[in-house]
Symmetry: D2
């Protein structure tokens, strides 16, 4: 349902034009005359009124404002599906009682380092292995990833450790090669509103980690999930990874309140990436604890054996020992909120 | 130490003028000529160069940029004082192992409600009682607080429960009446850069809770603490209460990464106010848990017996039962991070 | 009028409680049942429902959201007063066809510099002289202004040049001394929500320049004007001076769209301060031109004879020659938008 | 050149490790010992130190901070090319004395509307025709554009009016079909950091309008231009279209100070899109005037014959009459800043 607020002194004719427009879309108008404003309540299935039609009504003579009452997303909403969604990925359940930890290097740099890290994070208790094959970098002169070679190393590491793989898709032309190797497709923050890419992964049968865009509202983020789900793929995992604010002491501002808020609005699992969220390795442990305490269904953490030589994101990577220590420290917090880790 | 970056092709004469200016302030210049830029390292006690002098150097011919290496705050910094500061307020230690919880209504509305709330939060385990006597409201037509009458009720509640009082100072003209009653002075977010008020509380002998401004960086916040400390009062408690971002689904965005970051940079205690930070009562519990997990030294939580009739901030207040339940749930999390609550 | 949106499946009893609550405030409920949501339109003078009561309704069982249709400010709104407000200050009309330029140093540093600047800006065509006596500085170790001595110099400069004075009030305890000298009272950005200070200047009979807070929305800014006006002083001048955003290449982001937007919503004059807005002297001229083109009623520009020696804001001050050149360049732009300067 | 700031008390051995690391990259270290901090100036071609290596140095023991002195972009910078870049597109010069106006509908809806609008904007003085064939929409249920059919209509309109075409590329798979028709390729705000798309258009021989991302800093925006230029295409036009801030009264906050700032830092042409920047048709005219006054090389304006029926962005579109009136009003402002329009 939408509410159309009229300007004071709007003519009968203008009101009739608005009503006619609504009726043309099969909707009914309920006029309510207040002391200072008249409003029109739109009765009927207003999900039929797309965004652009709301804008169009907004410019009609006599209209002061249009307020939308229903959320613009449907498949992603709790109204549509009340119980939590869970997905099984090679035997690991995402969205269930166990908090799933995805760990690994920012970028796959070579086979040896990946194998070493994979074994170490596995031993520390991680459930999934992450690693970038195609890397979005702000400079064209930075390392852009090893491409398919990295994917092959990830598959080798999966074979050795049993950890399912999460890796990022940046370009619709890479979808086949990514699907050939990965278990979960990651859509990065900068691609959260790359709508063509969203439609593409919407037709895949593998779960998607959808990172929040740097300046995306909760609503826009859920609309991006809706894009994927509208094509059939219901297995979307939302990943909070920090938003851009005026504060520059941290790389981004990790919005942990998004986790319980999303839990109210959607049935989808919600995980947190503290590494990108703060961008400093020595803040990753406290923010991971906070993420577990706030109710996250998982964590995505960057781990590197030698951050001083990392080819990307060294500043925010934990060394394996620090990661293992953190995994231990998370256990009692997970237990305190009724979860396992 | 400051670094002055010169434009390419700066003349010898311009460089001499800059050096002369520095020498006039008792500083020495260390010139370092790189391949593409020449920089001047300023040797000496650059804390003598105030902000305005940096700006003045920045407009000299030949200067491309001035970069400050040292933090502009001193008394508030970890460099100045390595160990954590703790203060004893009527027997309660702030900044120590025990996480202190400050609870109570946004505004003191009448004596009965305050007494009831005070007893209930005391029984639930709170250590301090909060309550507003002078209220900053965005509308001049909203309830502005009971003034000294409220302070008297707070003192009555303290007498009955033993809970020390925290209340907000908004106007330097109220300082005497506030000091007559309160145990801790609160400076609200909107007054974080009310520099005259900061100087005033800097001469008081009671601790100050300094809330972060809605658009204040960590550095500006610590400079506000420095204002207070520069006048003698070293007992400043920093309170994260959310910053303003583009996201409107929550009232503000609670920046929990500020807590561990501040712990690195300052020796002052850091507490968190989730009620204002998110503005929705049903997000207060998860965010309180996250605040404890991340390392906060305390929490400030709004509690009201009847939020439906609250004269301010009803939307974000917990009922006493919910507060008591939360206090129980916080215990294992506090224990997990080596604290008591 | 307010709209109360009910959750799906809200019970009859919950609806009755809401209606009863509204009736207790002399309001009527108009229930409108849509396909997916039921909404209650509140009929009557909802300006009687203060902010806190809306919050209180929001927490009642069955309520999903409360939407306010009317703007919360009244005296400041175009609905209340359709024609532009103009004030006469010592013969200069603010808010009329002539764009008024307020120029001068950030801080009054000494008498000689002020006299020189005053004469130069007068000759270049400025209508008002600005200069700080009490300075808000982010560091307690920076120059804080000369106090009443500076006010005396400003009065001397007014006597010599005929330019009325604009100076900032930071503390309610300074109001008498400020009123003794100034023609227009300035409320700085950091005090835009210093509500006690706003109430104080609301009882004065001199116009007030109200600068926009760094993180203030247009609505909050107009509410701050409403605070002043609610006490009787209708002569408020709104001054856009930049908001805080993620961009750090400029000191703030000057929001010029605020000017035409305010012109729709309020009858009050709107001026622009490009010096603080961008914080770099070499961007002041283009932004001043843009401000005139967008419809500003005035400009506030920092001018200093020797920015390299300025005790504050040297980086953003124009030299007198550059100011004079700018004043010439603004003339054809003012003419193009039907104004004089 | 980079500056490495050391922590107080860093050991000789740690310093030696840092120097060794630098030397390993062919760089030299200039150590400067101050009173409170020691800094290392890195001498040599630090453009060889990529972002990831800076991060890696940042995590070395003893390092407090790494400050970059040189801008990370090269081809896009004024240092690299001092004179303004201009491109000739079918006889229209972008970046020259004439301010180029790109006008047309948000989306191409059908042939008749496009032809009508094209003729009207041509008659009003526009130089280029814009129109979306593939539309990025926040909802998957909104109109997504007509695809190649729209491109054919644009070509028809070009043939009839002589106006070159600007249209958006969203997906690397569409590049061939877009290049077949368009004269200028537009990269939308949401794709400003779609790095694969940037590399792709970097190999094209048609100019690119690169819109600023909603949360992109000036530096990141120039790095996105650098991506395109690094592949050979030097003809990039930067388009300011508003950034995301806390203010919701306008769709975005149009950052006009970006225009003169970019003019200092880059040789590339800079244009402004006030339609998306403010999102309200009645603010487009004043903001267009401001954009011309501030020094923009062009404007991009949405025009629609019937905004009430527009399939997207009706709220922010000018009707042809209003557009024609605006074009007339812009003339004296352009003349005032030494430009034609």
């Amino acid at each position: 349902m939408d509410i159309i607020v009229l300007k004071p002194g709007t003519s009968e004719e203008d009101i009739r034009r608005i009503i006619k427009k609504l009726e043309g879309r099969g909707l009914k108008a309920n006029i309510s005359t207040g002391t200072e404003r008249t409003v029109i309540g739109v009765i009927g299935d207003t999900s039929k009124i797309a965004e652009e039609e709301e804008d169009a009504i907004r410019v009609m003579p006599g209209v002061e404002d249009v307020m939308r009452i229903l959320k613009p997303y449907k498949l992603a909403s709790r109204d549509f599906k009340a119980e939590d969604s869970t997905f099984n990925v090679r035997g690991k359940v995402v969205g269930g009682k166990k908090i799933q930890v995805i760990a690994g290097p920012c970028a796959v740099e070579n086979k040896t380092m990946l194998m070493t890290i994979a074994e170490k994070v596995k031993n520390a208790g991680a459930s999934f292995l992450r690693g970038g094959a195609f890397k979005p970098r702000t400079s064209p002169y930075s390392f852009q990833g090893l491409g398919e070679e990295a994917l092959q190393y990830l598959a080798d590491a999966r074979e050795k450790t049993g950890l399912p793989i999460v890796t990022e898709l940046m370009d619709p032309r890479d979808i086949e090669v990514i699907l050939k190797y990965t278990d979960i497709i990651q859509i990065g923050a900068r691609n959260m509103q790359n709508f063509r890419l969203l439609l593409e992964v919407g037709t895949c049968d593998k779960p998607v980690v959808l990172k929040r865009g740097l300046s995306a509202t909760i609503k826009e983020w859920l609309m991006a999930a809706e894009y994927i789900m509208s094509k059939g793929n219901q297995n979307v995992i939302l990943c909070e990874r920090g938003i851009r604010t005026f504060e520059t002491a941290t790389r981004n501002t990790l919005d942990l309140s998004a986790v319980p808020l999303l839990k109210q609005r959607t049935h989808l699992p919600v995980i947190v990436d503290p590494s990108h969220g703060v961008g400093k390795w020595d803040l990753v442990a406290p923010m991971s604890k906070a993420a577990v305490a706030v109710g996250a269904d998982g964590l995505m953490i960057e781990v590197h054996t030698n951050p001083e030589e990392a080819m990307s994101d060294g500043e925010q990577s934990l060394k394996p020992d620090a990661f293992q220590k953190l995994m231990e420290e998370l256990k009692p917090i997970a237990a305190a909120v009724g979860r396992d880790i």
